[in-house]
Symmetry: C2
Subunit: 295 residues, 2 copies
């Protein structure tokens, strides 16, 4: 059974699961595990690892339209070198500061493979949590920021590890998520890539989507590591791990949403009836992307 | 650097760390990582693993005297077998139900070694969080329940895995922690064993303790796996992983605390001045116990 099948099985047993984060008593709670083989390429500094691992969980809080309150992490490694542990904690603390949350520590675990488990806590705002399930045909389909940043980073680790580390340390879209909460009909993060995220959002909302490829905001770094065109588009839509927000907004609220959003909000398509399926430039949008836990 | 040294380093960088759980905005948050090599002996069922891993984090919430609200877990394994994943989730859910918390899911991660990361969330009650640092000379030193349960379980896995699994599935002392919050001057859980927990509490409170060995509540199962006497005492004081509460209570509040506590509360000693150090039956109490992450 692959990870997606197992998650579907769990969702059937646990009604509170199945969104980017669970909502309990006005709080949102979400957890992730990242490890060396699949998540931290050779050249990833411990500072970047701490930043990125905590950021991944903060991104799930952002995707619910919630305020980020706090985060914790477990640092699992074969040995605990003072400089590495401190760099990790500094990264974890600084990404929390970047989104007005508090990094409150966690635990250490002797572990053969470098493994990090992170958890973020948030507070639902006045507009309530934004789920994946509210998209309605006619809504504008939008994304924050640029796509393909992490895919580009991965290709840069060999030649330019400093640049790759910089690209890997994304700022979780907490401020954007909070601003969009009042306008969004559905929201999630693009951790599995735009294509797969759209499939998940469409399944939860029982809708389809049409995407215009030319409208996709592709990160500058993607152009550096590809010759553009189809390769750039592939990286921007299916690589994933970008942690931008994928959000649907009623047409009438789009201008206000864009004004309120502290980062670029780009319309990339439109929500359709479920019967129309998912397409990009009239071709079927593949349900392909980053499956967490592969490997 | 061993785990304790690294934790001390982190505590210096992070003022919010250093107790059983962090307190943020009236919530308590705590996380742990357990894995096959060190935490799940051969014969541990996935049901027991789910129960015990989540229980370990709920125990940290209990140690703060807080209500347990919710828990999440990451299930990391080389493959996801439906029966194993479901058994794990059932264990996680049932231990949450046992303490009036909600298990709200989590994540899966493809991982070479079976590894579980758990996080529990709680809410501070009216009496406020109980920290490790409030013990005062003259206070009674008490423990909930019985000591040595997990140590006995570990010796039973070979011969009687059913019994061992039963013993491994402890009920986190959330109800006791909540009841004791109004009376306790300091509290923590005994996850590192009574001896080491007392050293940690004494360091945080700048005090000493005297323990009377005959007063220790030793679990019945310990007598089965040892010939009693010194071996039983050793297992009950230094093996750890029992997740009982170690609590100090002003002498004047002891009877009320015992009446309020829903499980047995046994006085095992007295808080002294720091100069007196830590002793059991006039011998120095070794700072020896379970160091999480060893191995």
């Amino acid at each position: 059974m692959d990870e997606r099948a197992a998650l579907a099985l769990i969702a059937a047993d646990l009604p509170a699961a199945g969104d980017d984060a669970a909502v309990v008593d006005g709080q949102v709670l979400t957890t992730d595990m990242l490890h060396e083989t699949t998540d931290f390429p050779d050249g990833t500094t411990r500072y970047t690892a701490g930043w990125r691992a905590v950021a991944a969980s903060l991104s799930d809080v952002a995707a619910m339209g919630a305020d980020a309150t706090a985060a914790v992490a477990v640092y699992g490694a074969p040995s605990f070198r003072a400089d590495e542990v401190r760099a990790f904690v500094r990264g974890a603390r600084e990404v929390c500061e970047a989104v007005d949350a508090e990094y409150v520590g966690g635990d250490l675990d002797g572990h053969e493979e470098f493994t990090v488990a992170t958890t973020a806590l948030g507070r639902v705002g006045e507009a309530g949590p934004v789920r994946r399930s509210g998209a309605t045909p006619g809504d504008a389909l939008c994304v924050t920021g640029d796509l393909g940043r992490s895919g580009a980073a991965l290709r840069l680790f060999g030649d330019d590890p400093d640049r790759a580390n910089d690209l890997f340390r994304f700022t979780p879209r907490v401020a954007a998520g909070r601003a969009l909460a009042a306008h969004a009909s559905a929201m999630m993060d693009s951790s599995d890539g735009l294509a797969r995220s759209c499939h998940q959002l469409a399944a939860a909302s029982d809708c389809g989507v049409v995407i215009e490829a030319d409208a996709l905001p592709v990160h500058d770094a993607v152009r550096e590591v590809t010759d553009g065109g189809a390769a750039a588009r592939e990286l921007a839509t299916t690589f994933g791990e970008d942690f931008e927000l994928v959000v649907t907004v009623p047409e009438s609220a789009l201008d206000t949403a864009r004004d309120d959003c502290p980062v670029a909000l780009t319309r990339v398509g439109t929500v359709t009836d479920a019967d129309a399926g998912l397409t990009m430039d009239d071709e079927p949008l593949p349900d392909r992307g980053y499956t967490h836990g592969d490997g």
